[in-house]
């Protein structure tokens, strides 16, 4: 049956994309503005033989998806600001134990209860550093309905391939926006499943460096009896306090990201050729910035747009090259200045970096960005 173009709400499309990517377990807790993801999953997952459960809290939802993923079932949860804070404990567990899961965070105003029904981009740093301790994580911030679909599929694929939690960062605008989209057929979607062990059970170790930077993960109940802990562990998954083993293991986890940057990093560029001012914007503000750049070009201003979809790991090399090229980088974002800190770090004084932060629950519109561009050229 050929699928037709229809209107999709961002939150609903995340859920449908997850199912097409192979998600068969969702645990969640009601929170604005992400609840439609849970509601959609409650309808759709049982239809495809999957399981939806509304847990008693955000912490439990995060724990439940890790448990289900360990049994070999692709799993997801969705939340927003305060709920994302609550999930950080078990999100760190998934990092430490290297369990693939996808966590959607629909950003609303904060801190605390903040602005539940209004958009923000205030969780960018929390996505990177929300849980305690050194860890590596992937965060994707799509800007369009079609991009939400592919970012969701990619979130599952990356988490499976790299045994790592992947954060899907939406904001309230994208979550509740409707745009036309034709669901791809399954033949058009590449699905990645985690590597399974090829060695017999008595020679299986869940963190065995000799099996590569991403050692295969056996499912519970599959005949491979092993231990998983949130403590630092040796290759067999048992607790250790040996500094050398811990150092090596953490370095392997870092390599998982560093050696796969080509697959992880994803961005869009617009009019950057010959630009002397670059706007760096993401999520729904990336769309405003796109329109502002077009208007600036129409006025003869040499402006361009760099729109990262992968926020973490940060696309350092490309941004460093941009900092060489342009005189100014303008960073509009719906917060008091978060991703701009990373841009400043990478630019390292090679160009001016100008924050354009705005809070209060309303988007930054193209004229505001255009004014900021004009003021700088």
């Amino acid at each position: 049956m050929a699928k037709e173009v229809r209107l999709w709400e961002g939150n609903h499309l995340v859920a449908e994309a997850a199912i097409l990517a192979g998600c068969r377990f969702f645990a969640g807790y009601p929170i604005t503005p992400s609840s439609e993801i849970a509601e959609y999953m409650a309808v759709r997952l049982p239809q495809v033989g999957g399981t939806f459960i509304q847990m008693e809290d955000e912490i439990a939802s995060m724990g439940a998806i890790i448990g289900a993923s360990l049994a070999g079932v692709k799993s997801m949860t969705a939340t927003s600001g305060p709920g994302f804070s609550l999930k950080q404990e078990n999100l760190g567990y998934a990092c430490m134990a290297e369990i693939p899961v996808v966590v959607v965070d629909v950003m609303r105003g904060g801190p605390s209860t903040g602005l539940p029904t209004h958009p923000s981009q205030m969780d960018v740093m929390q996505a990177r550093w929300g849980t305690h301790g050194d860890h590596w994580i992937i965060a994707l911030a799509p800007a369009f309905i079609h991009e939400i679909f592919w970012a969701t599929v990619r979130a599952f694929n990356l988490s499976e391939k790299l045994r790592i939690p992947v954060i899907l960062l939406l904001d309230e605008i994208l979550a509740h926006m409707h745009e036309g989209f034709r669901l791809p057929d399954s033949s058009e979607i590449e699905i990645v499943d985690r590597a399974k062990p090829t060695v017999p059970p008595d020679r299986y170790f869940p963190y065995d460096e000799s099996q590569g930077d991403v050692p295969p993960l056996a499912a519970f109940f599959s005949g491979y009896r092993f231990n998983i802990t949130g403590l630092n562990h040796d290759k067999s998954g048992f607790p250790t306090t040996n500094p050398e083993i811990i150092q090596r293991d953490m370095e392997r986890q870092r390599r998982k990201i560093e050696r796969h940057l080509d697959e992880i990093l994803w961005w869009d560029e617009h009019e950057l050729e010959g630009a002397e001012l670059a706007v760096i914007a993401y999520g729904s503000i990336g769309r405003s910035a796109h329109a502002a750049v077009d208007r600036a070009r129409a006025l003869g201003i040499r402006a361009g747009l760099f729109r990262p979809i992968t926020l973490w790991p940060f696309p350092e090399k490309r941004v460093a090259a941009l900092a060489e090229q342009v005189r100014t980088i303008l960073v509009p974002e719906m917060n008091m200045g978060q991703l701009v800190l990373e841009v400043e770090r990478v630019a390292a004084g090679r160009c001016d970096v100008v924050p354009l932060g705005k809070v209060g629950g309303i988007p930054i519109d193209p004229p505001e960005i255009l004014e900021a561009i004009k003021a700088r050229v």
Partner: protein, 277 residues
């Protein structure tokens, strides 16, 4: 023939980290004998825990073992069980893990009546972190954070479990290992959420602060303070003051969660077919 505990132990992980005289070993042995009686393959059993002395148990056992975050074992176990309802999931927790930080998960696992067996080793104290008061520290007893005696009334874990909807609730003690084994076995057999509380000793962190510095003294205290449920029914409430009731406290039948969910899937799929046809 003597029971072959080593079949279920990861002997390469020995020696364990528990103190001499600790009651956890008695609970673990009772649990292993009960599992043996179920005749389950080790591949089909998962043992899940949170944080604390008791929560170190899974690492020593040769099953699918999962040592999670403090208080969250039941949340992880719920995901695991829902992903594989055909397999057996056992959670082992301490009193702080299950009744304090994990209290909400405990209530809702009881409410769902999901087919998981929870064993709570209640030694009245946070042992691993240095003897702080727990939700079950009896009123007036001392802990490192209750130097003048606990002012918080103690929680009755079994009564909470019954009120929240658990369908098999029993309390045993480490003074009576065989009875404990029977309760765990009945909990494993039971279809639904079962809670077995094992009153246990911690001579190092609890007993030492409360004039019971040897395991023997502590286990005697436990034995002397337990009242079998049949006898408790005949006693006036004042005679039960400061005591705890032992035995099978509650057995009920109620729809089990994963079976209900299986029916929900059938219903949803039928409705979807109807909508297409």
């Amino acid at each position: 023939m003597a029971f072959d505990y080593e079949k279920y132990l990861r002997m390469e992980r020995m020696p364990h980290m528990w103190c001499p005289g600790c009651g956890i070993g008695i609970v673990v042995k009772a649990m292993l004998r009960a599992i043996e009686k179920m005749g389950w393959s080790q591949d089909d059993v998962a043992v899940v825990s949170g944080i604390g002395c008791t929560s170190r148990t899974p690492g020593y056992l040769d099953f699918n073992t999962l040592h999670t975050t403090h208080g969250r074992a039941l949340a992880f176990a719920t995901g695991l069980k829902l992903a594989r309802p055909d397999k057996h999931v056992i959670v082992i927790s301490g009193d702080g893990d299950a009744a304090a930080i994990g209290g909400n998960h405990f209530l809702h696992a009881c409410r769902r009546n999901i087919d998981i067996t929870l064993i709570v080793v209640n030694n009245y104290i946070y042992g691993m972190t240095g003897g702080q008061a727990s939700p079950t520290t009896p009123f007036g007893m001392r802990a490192s954070t209750a130097p003048y005696g606990a002012v918080d009334p103690a929680m009755d874990i079994c009564q909470v479990a019954i009120a929240a909807g658990a369908t098999y609730v029993a309390r045993g003690t480490v003074a009576q290992g065989l009875l404990l084994e029977r309760y765990i076995l009945n909990g494993l057999k039971h279809k639904g959420f079962s809670v077995i509380e094992a009153m246990s000793d911690c001579p190092v962190q609890y007993g030492r602060r409360n004039r019971m510095s040897s395991a023997v003294e502590m286990i005697q205290w436990i034995r002397d303070h337990g009242v079998p449920v049949t006898r408790a029914k005949e006693l006036p409430p004042e005679e039960l003051e400061g005591k705890f009731v032992t035995g099978e406290l509650h057995v009920a039948e109620r729809p089990e969660y994963t079976e209900e969910y299986r029916r929900l899937i059938e219903k949803a799929q039928k409705a979807a077919e109807g909508a297409h046809g």
